[in-house]
Symmetry: C2
Subunit: 697 residues, 2 copies
């Protein structure tokens, strides 16, 4: 059925074209979920007027140029309400950009795409997926993450403005909007992120909180009775209440109040009715699953909509949103383009820099100052080497911005060069983020920064990666190159004890598809690891550093640390390259393997020592290379790592063994722990001999 | 040096014995950290007067009976300030209870133990460790966890009171105190937990927030400028400010106000000076690391303390705290003991039940109603089977209390039998917790419940285990048998897509030492899995259930599901038990393995099918059993699991292969996903043939 045959004579209420567009969004949500037989119609139906008002009256977004750098960002933290976003992208006439950044001329989301909701390889997956659908600014679904991302995007805008806006040129002054629900508000990550945003006085950030009093288990009175607005006042936000999601005027005034506020972020509490207009409105039944044909018909009837129409976009609506957005945004975007050309003349260096950022490339000479570390038996902690390398790179990469979760003096992630400064209210040109003890938000914020041209990094202890698993995973799903620095990577932590000693964490990071986990074995491997992390364009990286000093190997005697680029390499070998035994190690255990190798060599045992800092990169190599490092015929192998053994069987074969951790650690000085858990040269040599003799322990 | 030679003539200020005791705590913290050359002296020095006031004037805790069920609980969420707790336990004269629950007659913490601070196998590890030191109610250190635990303990008190208090007998009416710092307050988990506590109106809960304006990176003005008190008012707490941590009277009045408040939890903001009295007081330098002899001497001088005295406990202090606590608590505890004997007469059943709880045992007959499931080709989702089994057990185990993070209708963890009800203000006898969308707090709260006699369980989707890794790990470190139910365990989730489809999560759980991760393969394995989980006394369990239906196997044709108790077992075998090929599977892939096994058998290939639901239990079996299931000579093996492959090499050998996930999933109907990713009988049979022919893919 199309508009020609649809009967709108009964169309009720204000009957405006805007209202027709809003009900189009609502009915598309019901129809798409019904056809897919899964999904979440209730929230799109509740928020349609709010979203429509924002997009049509305020959002500075040129549908023809969805990659305009200064566009306002819209984040749907309630990712399950994906149909809201798909309908908006469709009605806005947003144009598709392909993976290479080229315009395809196709719509980002066609009506056919909407009919393919939740089908294999469609552009309309169950939750909005970054890179899969033009106009989706971030992947959402795991609750609270969109909130954190939006804070990162608002930070990025402030950083980009501080760096690029010059003289009369304002290249960056956009806003960031996030739609959040009760679930987002309950999650700790959003609470941490809200505290950061309030502290940083991010007046370019506006969260619209859909307060519908319904959760999956029932009414919010079951579990969520706090005064959310008061809490946000505590965080230092500007709080506004909108009593009826259908009152477009009230909501528009709230957005105007946000735009007039220049000293803090804004939190708009919108009271809505989930599944608005349906017989099951206001109940948890409206949250998810297909509503059923009868309910849908009744709802359409209540809207004054043709009951039998499916996937109907009335003619009066077809370009309504697109026209409104275009009228407002195109002049802004065209002025920006013109300004940028003038800027290029006035500030050619900065303009070129922004070009590179948009292409995901690094400035020339960024590697120029990366140090080479001299052989040193005493060595230095890889966290210390990491700090030196980071500080050698960062002056050349102005948009490399990050920080730690209140552990910078320990993670060594502080940028200490002249002018680096802190990113704080009043100094948004600062390079050092102080995330506070908020690991989860840190990860989520860093992803938002990465989604807005920044090369972001985070820092905390490896054991606390547990607090930020979700954003690490999402970086991998989205293929954004966030860099996660984790120090204090083993029982080498010493006296702080089991709660602070990672055991399982290397395995848990290695298990994430698309994440490059690198645990470099000395200072020169650290330098290569940082290089690899920065050159990744589609992979996040976890850099794993030690608390304790690690010997800096003599690279004139052993292979170059550049071997790290292949994930694993032969560091030292038996004479003639025909080993009978292979020692494999990563990180702080590499010197132990080297020393054992030297001892075995002195005893006439032909051993090879393999450094395997990145399983991810190693497994990307072809079989020939992998087998050149780990020849299948040499099955006697010993892996040494101060971590759990899970996964090592892949490399040590059934004839091999590991010196790893099978329990949690303990609180004691490091040397006591190394003895207790067998990380000594004597034990390595003993295990090697046992394996060679076939008496596998 | 002892008190006889110590010169206190210069002892300043009020000079009271209490003040002497407080400075004893402070100097012990400095001395212990100095001797260990690591640790955190600043917070014990700041909070000594607050802690001493609470313990000496309010805490209902009999030092001679630290396992008295109705004792007040004291949680040191600022676990790095462990020396505060060790000194308190020492000065309180708390008596040691060994692992079997017997009194040893020794002190929980002797002065010698304090001198062994942070040494291998000492009772004074870097952070307080449950089970290692009597009087440590929970393991703390990872920030925010103690806060969550304390909410769980307060919930437990309410649940125990509702269940056991009868007539004139009040067996449970204790309070729970937690000391928290700026770091705790910034963490999302504490914010989630605070919201739960406010919602539940836990008036037996008091958090003392040490607001010292210092974090590791510097002043809190760097990252933490919110109005915390206002936020807690938003959560519905009673908020009190104490302006000077040294004003014992002001703090005592705050506690009195807490005790007089019967409708909400209490939050006391105490303004303190970190490293009080030292030349570096009020700076981040006072947070951690040994202060150095000069600073310590100067501090002791400022206290009027003998500068050269180390580990000095003045005679006037030796029994001061112990006497105060004993005087107050012993009569209460003795009355409780007498009451309980009378109660035993009046309510023998309930008394016996409490006896069992204290022994960590289950009531007789708890398994009586666990169903056996008939063979059924259509079967049912393991989440559904899980719900049935849970509801068959729970009526017999009254203190089995838990719930989901707003997903109960999906996780099927709701107790639905008559009278189960919701745990809510006004109905603390309810059995169903509504945790809200707060996975992290849910885990932490469940641990607190488990530490207070309850058998607690949680429920959410497996992918959201990422949000609650820290409490899962802590349950394993503490060896408490919290049960974590995770459903929607694979790409079987279908249309919700990659953000909701776990890939790496099985590996990440299997990697945690001491956690039993069980992924049962049909309804009867689910029943055994729940039995195993409940009979664990020292291990937490992760129960992994499917969203989609799984065939219920015909156990007359295949081996009994009781094999799950050994982690893995031969489900079906080649004739004569001499297989040439082994199929290994878990969970929803088990029927696939069985069907492939049947097809291979029909083709004359001698295959065995092994169900391996718990790697943890399987690896506890002796080698003979393990090799009877997976004979070393049968190296051609294929593992099938809708998850990442990490770890499977241990079981499939170098000659084997896996059908697993190497990427994230996708949004599509489940059958499309199974085809796309190769989870079909045809593909299993094809892979089996290829492996047998040696042409390993």
């Amino acid at each position: 059925m199309n508009d020609q045959t649809a009967d709108f004579s009964a169309y009720r209420e204000d009957g405006s074209p805007e209202r027709l567009a809003i009900d189009t969004i609502r009915t598309l949500a019901m129809d798409a979920v019904q056809k897919a037989n899964s999904g979440h119609p209730g929230t799109p139906m509740a928020l349609a007027p709010v979203a429509y008002t924002l997009w049509s009256q305020f959002l500075r977004y040129d549908p023809g140029k969805p990659d305009w750098p200064n566009r306002d960002r819209f984040v749907l933290s309630v990712g399950h309400a994906s149909m809201l976003l798909y309908s908006l992208l469709h009605l806005a006439g947003v144009k598709e950009i392909d993976a290479d950044g080229n315009e395809t001329g196709k719509p980002a989301v066609s009506l056919d795409d909407i009919k393919q909701f939740r089908q294999l390889d469609s552009k309309t997956p169950g939750h909005p997926e970054y890179r899969m659908t033009t106009g989706v600014e971030t992947t959402t679904g795991p609750l609270g993450q969109g909130c954190g991302n939006s804070v990162g995007m608002a930070i990025a805008e402030r950083a980009l403005a501080a760096h690029f806006n010059r003289g009369e040129f304002t290249l960056f002054d956009h806003d960031v909007y996030a739609f959040a629900g009760d679930g987002d508000m309950m999650e700790g990550v959003s609470q941490e992120a809200a505290s950061v945003a309030g502290h940083l006085k991010l007046s370019n950030l506006c969260w619209v909180y859909d307060s519908n009093h319904i959760t999956i288990e029932g009414g919010t009175d079951l579990a969520f009775t706090e005064d959310v607005g008061k809490r946000f006042e505590g965080y230092g936000w500007h709080v506004i209440h909108v009593n009826d999601a259908n009152d477009r005027g009230e909501f528009a005034r709230a957005i105007e109040s946000f735009k007039a506020t220049d000293d803090r972020p804004t939190f708009i509490v919108v009271h809505s009715v989930i599944g608005y207009g349906s017989p099951i409105q206001g109940t948890q039944k409206a949250h998810s699953d297909a509503m059923g044909e009868e309910v849908i018909k009744a709802t359409k009837k209540a809207y004054g909509w043709p009951e039998d129409a499916q996937f109907l976009v009335p003619d009066a609506v077809k370009t309504l949103l697109q026209d409104a957005m275009t009228e407002r945004a195109v002049p802004l975007r065209e002025k920006w383009d013109a300004d940028f050309e003038a800027y290029r003349g006035a500030f050619p260096e900065q303009a070129a820099e922004l070009d590179l950022l948009r292409q995901g490339k690094l400035p020339d000479g960024w590697q120029a100052d990366i140090p080479t570390f001299e052989a040193d038996a005493k060595g230095l902690a890889s966290r210390d080497a990491g700090g030196k390398v980071l500080n050698a790179i960062a002056p050349h990469v102005p948009m490399l911005i990050g920080g730690a979760a209140d552990l910078a003096p320990s993670t060594k992630t502080l940028l200490t060069f002249q002018g680096a400064g802190a990113f704080e209210p009043g100094s948004y040109g600062g390079r050092n983020m102080h995330f506070g003890v908020r690991e989860h938000a840190m990860g989520s914020i860093a992803n938002g920064m990465a989604l807005s041209y920044l090369r972001s990094y985070t820092g905390t202890f490896l054991v606390f990666s547990d607090y930020m698993r979700a954003p690490i995973r999402l970086a991998a799903i989205m293929e954004v190159p966030t860099i996660f620095v984790f120090t204090h990577d083993s029982i080498g932590v010493g006296e702080d004890g089991p709660t602070h000693q990672p055991i399982e964490h290397l395995a848990t990071l290695r298990a994430i598809p698309g994440l490059d986990t690198i645990r470099p074995g000395d200072a020169n491997e650290v330098a290569v690891a940082w290089k690899v992390a920065l050159t990744h364009t589609h992979e996040p990286t976890a850099l794993i550093f030690s608390r304790q000093a690690i010997q800096t190997l003599d690279r004139s005697k052993y292979a170059s640390a550049d071997g790290l680029e292949k994930g694993g390499y032969v560091l030292g070998d038996a004479e003639g390259g025909e080993p009978e035994f292979i020692l494999i190690a990563t990180g702080s255990e590499l010197p132990l393997a080297v020393q054992a190798h030297e001892k075995l060599t002195a005893e006439g045992i032909k051993s090879r020592v393999v450094s395997l800092p990145s399983w991810y990169l190693f497994e990307k190599q072809d079989r020939a290379y992998r087998e050149s490092v780990l020849p299948p015929k040499v099955t006697k192998r010993l892996a040494i790592e101060q971590a759990g053994s899970l996964g090592w069987d892949r490399y040590v074969t059934s004839d091999g063994g590991t010196i790893t951790m099978s329990t949690f650690g303990a609180s004691a000085p490091i040397t006591k722990l190394q003895e207790k858990f067998g990380f000594t040269i004597d034990n390595v040599v003993k295990m090697a001999r046992e394996l060679l003799e076939g008496s596998k322990a």
